[in-house]
Point group: none
Chain length 183, copies 2
DNA sequence: TCCAAAAATTAAGTATTACTTAATATTGCC
DNA sequence: GGCAATATTAAGTAATACTTAATTTTTGGA
């Protein structure tokens, strides 16, 4: 967040735009922009959004949220990031994400015996997905039918397809789940 | 951006946190949070950042930047398709491929102790990749440095980046390798 | 090298609004 | 019912985002 100003400036200069044109296009004063770029003033959420839009980038990019993500980084299994769990015995973890061009997100689904994924995923993504059973066995329900994936089995499907994961076994199961989506 | 409040609330409720705890943790008043969630008030960049951090998500997610982002066949592990092997102890298998829109290819690299991937991959693809250590340990060499991935560790990188895989251990190792490329 | 126009910065003041306090309403539970 | 926890609303304040206008720096052409 401290480097916000630098990032705006860098981005602006990359597009070869002056403070004045950016000011005119976004409807804020050149002076404000100058202050922002120097870390003397801080934009509001609305303002930064306008700037991000005009500079053809995202707020996340400008405030540096994607820096650690797009940089190469190995993620240990134990460093997986808990996202959420539902009341049906399924927990979602984030293993990795990489958003520079298209978006690649990798999740891990931990499923207790009898668990179902249900509302764990609100999926409005546009792209393709792949899942791989790390341990145990998982039943994948797609719009056409059910597929039973045993340990180390895997499959691809579309993001827009309705999908649900179940663990119909009596052992805990782990599913690797990779989503590559188009912006 | 209009649904910011809804998203905060949704996220907060998913984690089963009350307004008061969130307020205490982020250092803003419960009232402010309530107003935000109802779209009556708007957080500053700093505030939304604190909230995103505490809710274990990102500003981009909360303001909805990632919304657009966010013939089926199951392949048994034993049905993996051998592609080729090199003379350095590495074998390449195809686990899945899915080419309708963008291309998603999933390979498995089987590496004998001391093996290197070398010429196993001719990579002129344009996109992003992800690898996950199914078993054993793999060293990934990218243009910037080497990353040691232990069992079940993983990472993302660009397709255009120079890359090589090695098995510096004395046990056979298996690497899942997912490539999502833009046409 | 100088000059003029453009671009960028700074200072100071204003106005918006983010945020708080405190009181009120709602929900849940024994 | 009644207490406690949680959530909402109203009103006021304080912070700061933002503007205006003047100043400085940079740029490019004769």
């Amino acid at each position: 967040m401290e480097k916000l100003g630098e990032r705006i400036r860098k981005r602006r200069e990359h597009l070869d735009i002056t403070i004045n044109t950016l000011a005119k296009s976004t409807g804020i004063s050149p002076s404000m922009l100058s202050q922002m770029e120097h870390g003397k003033a801080f934009p509001s959420l609305h303002t930064i959004k306008h700037i991000a839009d005009f500079l053809n980038t995202s707020v996340g990019e400008l405030i540096g949220e994607n820096d650690t993500l797009s940089a190469n980084r190995a993620i240990e299994w134990n460093d997986r990031k808990f996202v959420k769990k539902n009341s049906y015995g399924a927990s979602l973890y984030l293993l990795a994400e990489h958003r520079p061009q298209q978006t690649m997100e990798v999740f891990m689904l931990e499923m207790e015996p009898g668990a179902t994924s249900n509302d764990l995923i609100e999926d409005k993504r546009n792209g393709q997905e792949y899942c791989f059973v790390i341990e145990g066995s998982i039943t994948v329900s797609l719009s056409d039918r059910e597929y039973i994936l045993s340990e180390r089995a895997s499959m691809c499907f579309f993001s827009h397809d309705f999908k649900q994961f179940k663990n119909n076994t009596s052992d805990k199961s782990y599913l690797l789940w990779n989503i590559a989506s188009i912006k």
